[in-house]
């Protein structure tokens, strides 16, 4: 890396040091991290993915893999007879506003009173050693992660797709994150109340209060997500069309609000979201109009909701989809077409975040480079070169060009230990 680039890069957001304790297969790790690209290499099952996961977790407070965060604690440590077991992730980060330490603690407490030996799990977040709310950890580090299983975003469940939107938006929009978290709380309260009303344990007096809050917060969530999908869609389309398919194919993204489909007389005739798309075009600046729709939909589904003991419309049931040349990519696309669209999505995500914050996010690329042909690999590596900091994993460093390796740092991962390579790899 050129000296002037280095000076420029160290002023921008990056991690200078990562410390892990009892996280996955890392019992203890203290690692100084350089700016620019770092290659993380090693055999299978040594801890490469876990290292990226740690960075991702600190940036988003979410794991891309684990179903339960408790699974992130090192299982050897969990075997110990200790009453409290703590997993810790600490990153020292340098930003244009100075140096900060962000920390996440995963705490498992064996309770004395419970005979079955099960305990309680909780998390604590700290910024500069002071406890903060979990959501206050967001925004200090911003990352974009590439995983081999990303293609499941297209073929998988709506829940996975909502999760993607929420995690990405939360990284740069704390107000959205707060709104979403309040929405989820209101939803939980409303559902509990619906069940109590159905069982005759509670009057309906409180219901309008939760319904109004649900509609107010829910339409904000919906509008923010739908606008985000629009913003992302333009970038995805451009990258996909210009850079990845040389003008052969067009990809579009559509947000699909469940409340639109639940409209009476609209039963499932609008699964491609065309009616909604047309309506949204003229109403995307009009949160009140969305709220009105939402309100109607909640009203319509009230009897059903009462019977189910759950709220059936709202952004917690929404979805979004990819259309390739006008057709559903998940139903009709080939595997290769799906992968291309995901690559476009991820590149668009980088551009979007850069546009929103003025800084390129930290890139985490797990094994993805191996799957790409030479042209796309070169394209992706251009993004890597532009990032302040990037981590790429590979079992075999030989797949990278010598030119790339010359400009990258490289680390060998072996059974939960990480070591900086001193010699140039690929030059032995």
């Amino acid at each position: 890396m050129l000296a002037y680039q280095l000076v420029y890069f160290v002023l921008l957001m990056h991690i200078t040091r990562l410390s892990l304790t009892n996280f996955r297969n890392y019992g203890r790790l203290e690692l100084d991290l350089p700016v620019g690209p770092s290659l993380i290499h090693g055999n299978n099952a040594q801890g490469k993915t876990n290292l990226l996961e740690a960075v991702y977790y600190l940036a988003t407070t979410k794991s891309p893999h684990a179903d339960q965060d408790q699974q992130l604690i090192n299982w050897v440590a969990m075997q110990a007879e200790e009453p409290v077991i703590v997993g810790r992730l600490v990153a020292q980060i340098s930003t244009s506003q100075g140096v900060k330490t962000i920390e996440m603690r995963l705490i498992y407490e064996r309770s004395q009173s419970l005979r079955n030996g099960r305990g309680s799990f909780r998390r604590e977040a700290l910024v500069d050693k002071r406890k903060v709310r979990l959501m206050d950890l967001l925004g200090h580090l911003r990352v974009v992660m590439f995983l081999p299983e990303d293609v499941q975003l297209i073929t998988g469940s709506p829940r996975q797709r909502r999760r993607y939107l929420d995690i990405t938006l939360c990284q740069i929009d704390p107000l959205y994150c707060r709104t979403l978290s309040n929405y989820n709380k209101v939803l939980e309260q409303r559902n509990a109340l619906l069940r109590q009303i159905a069982e005759g344990q509670s009057s309906r007096a409180m219901l309008p209060i939760y319904t109004e809050k649900l509609v107010k917060l829910g339409s904000r969530v919906l509008v923010r997500r739908a606008r985000f999908v629009d913003e992302l869609a333009r970038e995805v389309h451009r990258i996909h069309y210009e850079a990845l398919t040389e003008g052969r194919e067009t990809v579009r993204l559509h947000y699909l609000p469940g409340l639109w489909h639940n409209k009476p007389g609209n039963n499932d005739t609008d699964t491609n979201g065309k009616g909604w798309a047309a309506w949204w075009q003229t109403h995307s600046q009009d949160e009140a109009a969305v709220a009105e729709r939402f309100d109607e939909a909640v009203e319509t589904s009230f009897a059903a909701d009462l019977a189910r003991g759950a709220t059936s419309v709202g952004p917690h049931r929404d979805d979004w989809q990819f259309l390739l040349n006008g057709r559903s990519l998940s139903s009709y696309g080939s595997r290769g077409q799906q992968r291309t669209a995901i690559l476009a999505l991820k590149m668009a995500e980088i551009n979007w975040m850069t546009g929103q914050t003025g800084e390129v996010p930290i890139l985490l690329l797990d094994e993805v480079v191996a799957e790409l042909d030479a042209q796309r690999r070169a394209l992706l590596l251009d993004y890597v070169k532009d990032a302040n900091q990037a981590f790429l994993t590979a079992t075999d460093p030989a797949m990278f060009s010598l030119d790339f390796l010359r400009n990258a740092s490289s680390f060998l991962v072996e059974n939960g230990r990480v070591q900086l390579d001193t010699g140039q790899i690929g030059f032995s």
Partner: protein
């Protein structure tokens, strides 16, 4: 072989202390051994204080704050404004507002906030008593000073709807910028709330 066990009274206190919120078994043991080593007097003072806490306090039958005598001192005080009522969730909130010296009316303590998830409805709080107090018609203004949480706000809304009537002004505390804070360093949430609650100059 005889095994070392704690004398039963020691174990019992450890058990009792560790049932308190925020006290784990370790700190319960530490406190217990501390008490064992201190002068007998100090430990007995503590025991007496606990006993008094239960035997000499009650809820005020008017405002439901904790008090030694019923009605409580605030409810008895004729020098306080009789026409304005401040509704709070907990007795500690009364203390906080009293410390501010910004309020000189009466209080009503709900003892919680509505939360269906936790099975708490209006009937589990002192809401009926509040309605009864207000219906006697002596209050001009009701200040809803519940916590700025979802539960607190829903509780306030519920009360507001039940009590809205001619001649009764219902207000709630403003949520705003911390005094001495710097606008530039205020988080977006606080700032957006302060913007929503802006006032005419």
């Amino acid at each position: 072989m005889a095994q070392a066990v704690l004398p039963q009274p020691v174990q019992r206190l450890i058990n009792e202390l560790s049932r308190l919120p925020g006290v784990g078994p370790k700190s319960a043991a530490r406190l217990t051994f501390y008490l064992l080593r201190t002068a007998d007097e100090q430990a007995l003072d503590l025991a007496q204080a606990l006993q008094d806490l239960i035997e000499r306090t009650q809820f005020c039958s008017t405002c439901f704050n904790i008090t030694e005598e019923d009605p409580c001192l605030i409810c008895q005080d004729a020098g306080r404004d009789q026409s304005i009522l401040c509704v709070v969730e907990e007795p500690l909130d009364v203390l906080a507002i009293e410390r501010s010296r910004a309020f000189n009316g009466r209080y009503h303590v709900l003892h919680g906030a509505i939360s269906p998830v936790e099975g708490v409805g209006p009937e589990d709080l002192r809401v009926a008593e509040l309605v009864e107090r207000v219906e006697q018609g002596k209050f001009r203004e009701l200040i809803l000073a519940t916590n700025p949480t979802l539960e607190g706000e829903s509780t306030s809304l519920y009360i507001q709807r039940r009590l809205a009537r001619e001649g009764l002004r219902i207000t709630r505390l403003a949520r705003g910028l911390p005094v001495g804070g710097d606008l530039e360093y205020t988080d977006e949430i606080t700032l957006s709330r302060a913007m929503e609650g802006r006032q005419e100059l």
